[in-house]
């Protein structure tokens, strides 16, 4: 018999109560995991897009509420491209288009002349022909979602396009969308003479960070994004998601702690006499404390394990919605699981604190007299 044996036996003497507490905490943890993996996934695919095609960084409008609302004037784009330390600067327009039943189809407007330099692998057909206004390239997943092949005619954002090629880039956003000529995309979005962002490749041997800093200094209305963490500078939505994530984690923590405290208080009250016996046979207060904290921790870690599985299933279930699966792949990073475990451990400690202190403060005789 060990302390752990006693901990498990104590927990499972009131199976229904333990199960309900575990379930309550597991739901909180599942919410943290699901939201966390979705947020991380969004950040991951956004970060991937910052360096799309091997670009050193991406320049967009500083402080935009969302990347699709970012506007970089063509003059700024040309100025960046003309810098001696810049090898290539490719501007593009991102339009969230209404395509069929999917209101979040991503439409990319590129100058057809720039496409040969983009690391786009053609799976079928050809690239856009210069001057052809209504030709479209479909990403592999985009083509699958639309059920379209080369030669087909598709309606993107209420405009018909001839599919001339199917491509693959390995990036979630571009592969699930379509590429159309920049001018056409600007007309569809009613954004003449502006692009959403510019991917920048610096000349070999130049320090990309220094170039990014110089661009930001000379164009204060623009932000140069070098790392996924910078994405929040041009998409306030990420800050809102992070805040929501934190708020839900804190809420799960508070609700979980109250649930665990309730269970542990009931459990300790019911066992007051037994705690008196343990003190009478010579158990130190610290061992009683350890027993109660271990019970709470075991309860919470079981809940965390179940919550992680529930959370992962929930975030995968979201992908069954095609509109979401086009731009989101949940990311199950250590950070997400670490946060779930941290919630569980903090809940366990908070929930056990009062009952444990109460149990230790009782004199053995006081506890033995307890009815």
């Amino acid at each position: 018999m060990t302390l752990t044996t006693l901990v498990f036996k104590n927990l499972f003497r009131q199976r229904v109560r333990t199960l309900l507490t575990v379930l309550g905490i597991a739901i909180g943890v599942a919410t943290v995991v699901a939201l966390g993996s979705i947020t991380e996934g969004l950040k991951g695919s956004s970060g991937e897009f910052i360096r799309a095609g091997g670009a050193d960084f991406m320049v967009a409008q500083a402080g935009a509420s969302d990347l699709s609302f970012s506007a970089v004037s063509e003059s700024d784009w040309r100025a960046i491209a003309a810098r001696p330390e810049v090898d290539r600067a490719t501007g593009f327009l991102l339009e969230v288009a209404d395509v069929g039943s999917n209101p979040f189809f991503l439409l990319f407007g590129y100058e057809p002349e720039a496409l040969p330099d983009e690391p786009i692998e053609l799976v079928a057909g050809r690239l856009l022909a210069p001057g052809a206004a209504h030709e479209a390239l479909l990403g592999g997943e985009g083509a699958q979602a639309l059920g379209a092949e080369v030669g087909a005619r598709v309606e993107l954002d209420h405009t018909r396009f001839d599919v001339v090629g199917i491509y693959r880039t390995g990036e979630q956003w571009r592969d699930s969308g379509a590429i159309v000529p920049l001018k056409t995309a600007q007309e569809l979005a009613s954004k003449t003479d502006v692009v959403t962002a510019v991917h920048v490749w610096v000349v070999d041997g130049m320090d990309a960070h220094e170039v990014a800093v110089a661009i930001e200094r000379e164009h204060p209305q623009l932000a140069a994004l070098e790392e996924p963490a910078d994405y929040g500078d041009v998409d306030q939505g990420f800050k809102i998601l992070d805040a929501a994530n934190l708020a839900i984690s804190l809420l799960a923590l508070g609700i979980g702690a109250i649930g665990v405290m309730n269970t542990m208080i009931m459990s300790v009250f019911e066992r007051t006499r037994e705690i008196g016996i343990l003190r009478a046979v010579g158990w130190r207060g610290s061992r009683i404390l350890r027993m109660i904290f271990l019970e709470s921790l075991t309860l919470c870690l079981i809940a965390v394990a179940i919550g992680i599985v529930f959370g992962a299933i929930a975030s995968r279930a979201v992908l069954l919605i095609p509109a979401i699966s086009s731009f989101l792949v949940p990311s199950y990073s250590l950070d997400v699981f670490g946060r779930a475990i941290a919630v569980g451990v903090v809940v366990a400690m908070l929930g056990a604190l009062y009952p444990a202190v109460r149990a230790v403060r009782l004199s053995p005789m006081e506890a033995l007299r307890y009815e």
């Binding site: 018999m1 046979v281 010579g282 005789m365």
Partner: protein
């Protein structure tokens, strides 16, 4: 005369803000290996005295010294409880979810013994109290007498020199009570324990080396005293 192991001097204890006086200047000496029975009417302070000697409660006044340990207020007495006294209650006070063997092992967790050593010692103790083969039974699966035997084995788990028994046969039928008492006497004889036993039952008290009668929270004049090991010849009134 053997060495004195329990020395209680002028001990007072009251409850309910002094309204209930349990002990009022109690004195008691117990020698090493001695079997002392404490008798007296309900509420005379017998159990309170035992609880104070077991360091389960603290006296309001006076001093208690057990096996060289001054049981002063404010001292950490867990080590004393774990190693120097074994307590047997009227109700067995076993942990219901644990088996007999696990219950006996509970006090041993404080000793730092290995798991194997704990199991070995618990099996030996259960065998000594006649419960071989019942190691894996839980308290609800045992009879009253068997539960009390497990409680005795638990009290002996850390090999204390002093055994304190508070009405150990009080909740048992006469046959089971008789067997428990015989067991306590045998253990005391074979292990050289000092046994301080609280009882209402004069037949049980007669088996002790010495009887201390309590009245109104203090020791009444002793009816007779015997050297340890001698057979009593006269009953206590």
């Amino acid at each position: 005369m053997s060495e004195r192991v329990i020395c209680v001097r002028s001990v007072s204890k009251s409850f309910d803000d002094g309204r209930i006086v349990a002990l009022d200047g109690m004195d008691l000496d117990v020698a090493e290996g001695e079997f002392v029975a404490i008798v007296g009417p309900s509420g005379c302070g017998k159990s309170t005295l035992l609880h104070l000697i077991a360091a389960l409660d603290e006296p309001d006044d006076g001093s208690i010294e057990v096996a060289g340990h001054e049981l002063a207020s404010g001292h950490d007495l867990t080590h004393y409880r774990a190693r120097h006294v074994g307590m047997i209650f009227q109700l067995h006070n076993l942990l219901p979810t644990l088996t007999a063997e696990e219950n006996v092992q509970v006090p041993m967790l404080e000793l730092g013994l290995s798991r194997r050593e704990r199991r070995f010692r618990a099996k030996q103790l259960l065998s000594a109290v006649g419960l071989s083969g019942r190691e894996h039974s839980r308290p609800p699966e045992l009879s009253g007498g068997e539960r009390q035997r497990v409680a005795i084995a638990r009290a002996l788990a850390n090999e204390p020199p002093i055994l304190l028994a508070d009405e150990p046969t009080g909740s048992l039928d006469s046959e089971a009570g008789q067997r428990v008492l015989e067991l306590l006497e045998e253990l005391r004889r074979t292990r050289g324990l000092s046994l301080l036993l609280v009882t209402h039952d004069t037949d049980i008290a007669r088996r002790a080396d010495r009887i201390v009668r309590m009245l109104d929270g203090r020791a009444a004049p002793t009816v007779r005293e015997l050297e340890p090991g001698r057979t009593p010849t006269r009953a206590v009134a």
